[in-house]
Amino acid sequence: MNAREDAAVWNRWYPLGSPTDIRRRKATRTRLLGHDIDLEIHKTWISASSDSRPLPVTERLGYVWTSLGTPDGPPQQLLEYYEVDRLVMNIWSTPIKCSGLRIVDNVIDNAHFPFLHPNILGDEDHLDLVPGEASVDDAGALWLKSQKAWLPLTNSVAEYTYRISDPYSVVLFIHRPSTPDRYDYLGIFAQPVDEENFIAHKLLAWIKEDWMDERQLKADQQSISAQDKYVLERHVHKKLPLNGAETSIEVDSSSLNYREWLRANQVSYGAMT
């Protein structure tokens, strides 16, 4: 379909990459929603255009964002990203061959941890899952709060909250037992190249601790993403079914909530309807 016909997708902000990465790669072209985007790298900023039409550009959360349509306000915010005691980085921007909606569906699903991330994010001896509560806030964002799953890395149960403010993105709040009012964050922002391809931009913003090694954290997060890629690129249906093409069960409540939220927002680009 033509993305222009999907207002819920067209009039959104999307990241095109971190400015550092765009400069290092000397990237002059990318794609968004089936359209070529020309990039121009200036001394202090990066501009974008589509068919010679200048596009709005802004920098936020370490990424350059643009929109092909007329978004209602600035890109999504995460003020905690700017706190001084945080380690923040772009884990990477990497293309993946399926709909970007698929990665959101993957991130909010804890039932796959023991199988795709064995002994890292889950293991087969601890299959208990506590589903979170779903709610939609005043701004229209979907929240999936306090999902619990066993985390072998810490040998304890971890708690996760997810915020989906845009169809193609999800921010993961990792609860911190030592500071219950603060979280570590991972952001997965998909740049939909077209309906069956996207670029995953993955952000990390964790409260800095002595043991943290930036290279190690980046390598670990990339490894987890590469494990997910093994299934993401092996979907028979490249788009995310919002119809009956996939059967869900009771423990898929997060996935069902997300799909329901997409339907309520009339999202069809990148979806099977």
Binding site: A111, F115, Y230, V231, V236, I249, V251
Partner: protein
Amino acid sequence: MTSYVVALEKDVRDFSIVRSMMGDKPLVIWRGASGAINVWLDRCPHRSVRLSAGRNMGGYLEGVYHGWKFDESGKVTQVPALQGRPSEDITATVYSTAVADGFVWASEEECAPSGSAGEPCYPVHIAAPVDQVRLHVDASANHLTPWGIDRTMVYPTGDPVQRRAELSAIRRRLEES
């Protein structure tokens, strides 16, 4: 009604998975603990990931994404996230299968190996007309070779269009010989 040769029986090994095609349909082929060969659509009914990306554990096929266990009839007998409870109303798409002459046959309807039905059947996996391929049965090794008559390699590709083109090229070559 068409039945297809989808694999060589010898290639379908215990604790292993074979991928093939039936027309445009991707297949996962696996031999279960019973010794029977199962031919299913290569798509998990739950999250549409290729079943062939998972594991053949003997008694069951395990999906890679969520560890669901499919028994040989295609039923989901264990869902780990349900504490191992079954979800038997969910099943894989199972095709009718037969083994004959060292080939694995499959059909969307009742599978009938050619020779009995007399239908023209074209082995998809080997990409040559089955009666021609039979000439090349390696009797000593009790299996068939995926080779054409002049030892030209006969390799079907994953792309159905290209596969058909290769198939007709091979058929032409066989007809000429």
